[in-house]
């Protein structure tokens, strides 16, 4: 009898644990930002304590450097932690899904926020922004560059463009994807900086082993994850006129096997095979930047700041030799400089919807996105991709980037038409990971008889992934 009782007790404990999961509710206390009244005061949450989780990055370092100033101004203590980008989002996914409110503010990208917002894991910010009792007058929402702040708005409807709906995050910095080249290497070889996709291909091929074994023409990312698709590849893909998805009869339908997409991917495979790193398939942004800085790669097409940081005096062996180009456009596809498109990446900060300290968390967010902080971070804190117009147009900012040849011109010009060219949908990470895997297979194997066959198969995979999404 006792044995039966013990077994029953264990089963009850087990089953309670199992089924309690299904009905778990968010643990956060209700906080209505619209209900906060009175004058704004930086000390209104004096004595509070918040937890912040960031990914290791220049933007995060700038925030970390000014944490003491924030605490002095607000009286809010910050438990700050950061971790390498490699596993950051996986860790964040678990923290957010637990709905425990263990972190109050976190770093995210626009693409990831689509998934978090769909899951209800991020707090919409418009009621904080629009409440003068919660937001300092000098914070100035309208000062954010429209394309950048709009990239973090979405109405939660798959297939709908960004720019409408709730504000899910605030920008810390943003990146356009442009060509960086080693002007010394190109000059030594008598080559001109490429402007078109065709020129890029021929220059990259000409620079194969330009400095001996292991040196190569163009560094681009190649790991099997979303990070390989979004920078250079997606920029050229969009410039070529291709799209990832289209809405057909209320469903998202992949267009990766369209003629433009296939032509661009054929070009890309040729470019990587004949002008890329010998171990391209294991290259993330860190290795791309390192090879450019070490003089192993003559050019890099990646986030602008990847090249910029290598060019800072003392940062790399090639510092001072690097210059900046734009987005190479395909003349063979009838495109001109006016068609240049750079896919946009926005590092941003968001608030956990399960946070129990939303007031103090909002103070943290507005302090570290304020014009005052961003002028400092943009000019002295190495965060050159400033999301604020007032900083971008300031003389102090121009002076700070003056040493990087062509940087200001490229950043200013390309950023005008830069946008997120992916279709907003919650399965972004999965669809782009599958995309990157196929790209790897095309470059490193003979698995497919043609690029068309590979992209046809990828289309089916992507259609299956998004099959349960309904577009209104």
């Amino acid at each position: 009898m006792k044995k039966i009782l013990v077994v029953l007790m264990i089963l009850v404990v087990l089953m309670t644990g199992v089924f309690a999961q299904g009905s778990k509710e968010a643990a956060s206390e209700k906080f209505d930002p619209s209900a906060v009244k009175g004058n704004f005061d930086w000390k209104m949450y004096d004595g509070s304590e918040i937890t912040v989780l960031f990914s290791d990055h220049t933007y995060a370092s700038a925030v970390e450097a000014k944490l003491k100033d924030f605490t002095d101004k607000t009286g809010i203590k910050v438990n700050y932690s950061s971790m390498p980008e490699g596993n950051y989002f996986e860790k964040l996914n678990v923290e957010l899904a637990s709905r425990s409110g263990s972190i109050d503010v976190f770093m995210t990208g626009a693409y990831q926020s689509w998934g978090y917002a769909t899951a209800g894991n991020v707090e919409p910010l418009e009621n904080y922004i629009n409440n003068a009792s919660l937001t300092d007058k000098s914070w100035n929402y309208s000062d954010f560059i429209p394309g950048v702040i709009d990239a973090l708005k979405w109405d939660l409807k798959p297939g709908h463009p960004v720019g409408k709906g709730s504000q899910w995050a605030l920008p810390m910095g943003w990146e356009v994807n442009i060509l960086t080249y080693n002007k010394k290497v190109l000059a030594d070889k008598g080559l001109n900086p490429p402007k078109t996709a065709e020129e890029l291909l021929s220059v990259a091929k000409a620079l194969k082993e330009f400095g001996g074994s292991g040196t190569y023409g163009l560094a681009v990312r190649g790991l099997p994850d979303w990070g390989t698709i979004h920078p250079a590849y997606m920029s050229l893909y969009s410039t070529w006129g291709a799209k990832d998805f289209e809405v057909v009869n209320g469903k998202l339908v992949s267009r990766v096997n369209s003629p433009e997409a296939v032509a661009m991917t054929e070009y890309w495979v040729d470019l990587v095979k004949n002008g890329g790193a010998p171990q391209w398939a294991s290259y993330g942004w860190e290795l791309c930047g390192a090879d450019l800085g070490a003089g192993k790669a003559a050019m890099m097409w990646d986030a602008d700041r990847g090249g910029y940081t290598q060019n800072v005096k003392g940062a790399s062996a090639q510092a001072g030799n690097l210059a900046f180009g734009m987005v190479p456009y395909p003349v063979s596809a009838g495109k001109t400089e006016a068609d240049m498109k750079s896919n946009l990446w926005v590092w941003s900060m968001a608030m956990n919807s399960a946070s129990n300290k939303k007031g103090p968390a909002w103070q943290f967010m507005q302090y570290f996105t304020s014009p005052e902080f961003m002028l400092w971070s943009g000019t002295e804190g190495s965060c050159t991709d400033t999301p604020r117009t007032s900083v971008l147009t300031s003389q102090a900012y121009r002076n700070s980037v003056a040493d990087a040849e062509g940087y200001y011109e490229a950043f200013s010009k390309v950023s005008k038409d830069a946008s997120i060219f992916f279709t907003a949908q919650p399965y972004f990470v999965e669809t782009t990971t599958e995309w990157a895997k196929v790209l790897q297979e095309l470059v490193t194997t003979n698995k497919y008889p043609s690029v068309q066959v590979a992209m046809d198969r990828l289309k089916k995979t992507m259609d299956n992934i998004v099959a349960d999404l309904k577009v209104e």
Binding site: A119, A277, Q279, A281, S282, A294, V429
Partner: protein, 310 residues
């Protein structure tokens, strides 16, 4: 008034102080708590494998065998199973053979060099696998890697290592062997040093060759240690995640997408736990069956080495 099987009257048991009566329960409590700690997530995992549980949606529902059927009918699963088995079997086999060979050499040397080598050979075990992999990644890099420079001396340039599907599996196994062979060496060395000396002395008097001694004395008596090494290494190798993830994240393509990596990617990257769990449950089943078989063989070998069984 009956007696229990120890011959103590029940009435006497009731007179035992509470502190003494509760003692057996306290003794088993930690193991019970640990068992529950393991069983709760395990039972939950089985349950979630029948649901569409995802971090991306606030609720989930029962989907029956959908996740299992999708997994078993996917090319992804059979590829992951193949990669896990190849990785597990090859890395373990190489580590056992190499570890055995080096341990025999160190044991036979038994001089200052072997003492120094024993200390040096432990170093790879002291490095976290992810760190070791990143160091290897740099050493194998075609631009700055020292291995590339060595290969260049022999006229080999731009060896692709993990960047090519043809050499990626070999590369991760090589790194695994570098990290874990030390473990086998230590285990086998300990086994060798605990062997009785008299059988070897008798064989020496009878003029037994080195091969005869190894085949008929060392190996049979060493088998229990080898089975333990096999058990630990095979279990760990089948679950391998760190080396592959740090080196290629499973690429190129899906060349190195093992069961662990596929499950991790589906669960933590794509946030689809319902479809991730069947992969890890299959891995658990394979490891469980193999571990039971190895433990059984180890017991038999132990008896044979002790002369209890022919």
């Amino acid at each position: 008034m009956g007696n229990n099987n120890l011959g103590i009257k029940k009435v006497d048991l009731n007179k035992v102080p509470f502190k003494v009566r509760v003692r057996p329960y306290l003794i088993v409590a930690p193991s019970l708590i640990i068992t529950i700690g393991i069983m709760v997530p395990f039972v939950m995992a089985i349950w979630f494998s029948f649901t569409n549980y995802s971090f991306q949606f606030p609720t989930h529902r029962f989907v029956g065998l959908d996740n299992w059927v999708n997994m078993l009918t996917s090319r992804e699963f059979w590829n992951a199973l193949k990669i896990s088995l190849l990785y597990g079997l090859f890395s373990t086999a190489i580590e056992i053979l190499l570890g055995l060979g080096i341990a025999l050499l160190l044991n036979s040397l038994n001089n200052w060099l072997s003492k120094v080598l024993r200390v040096l050979l432990v170093f790879p075990l002291m490095v976290a696998p992810v760190t070791a992999t990143i160091v290897w990644q740099l050493m194998l890099n075609s631009s700055v890697g020292i291995v590339e420079k060595l290969f260049n001396l022999f006229g080999l340039y731009n060896f692709p290592w993990a960047a090519s599907p043809d050499t990626a599996l070999m590369t991760v196994i090589m790194i695994d062997v570098w990290i874990n062979t030390s473990f086998v060496i230590l285990l086998v060395l300990a086994g060798l040093q605990s062997l009785p000396k008299s059988p070897f002395e008798s064989a020496k008097i009878d003029g037994g060759s080195a091969w005869f001694n190894f085949k008929n004395l060392t190996l049979p008596m060493l088998k229990p240690s080898l089975y333990i090494a096999l058990l630990f290494r095979l279990m760990a190798a089948l679950q391998e995640y760190a080396v592959i993830f740090a080196l290629t994240k499973g690429g190129p393509g899906d060349t190195l997408m093992s069961l662990s990596l596929t499950s991790y990617q589906k669960g933590f990257t794509f946030q689809k736990f319902g479809s991730a769990i069947p992969y890890i449950l299959v891995l658990w089943l394979i490891i469980n069956v193999l571990a039971k078989w190895i433990v059984k063989r180890q017991r038999i070998a132990q008896k044979q080495a002790s002369g209890l069984e022919g």
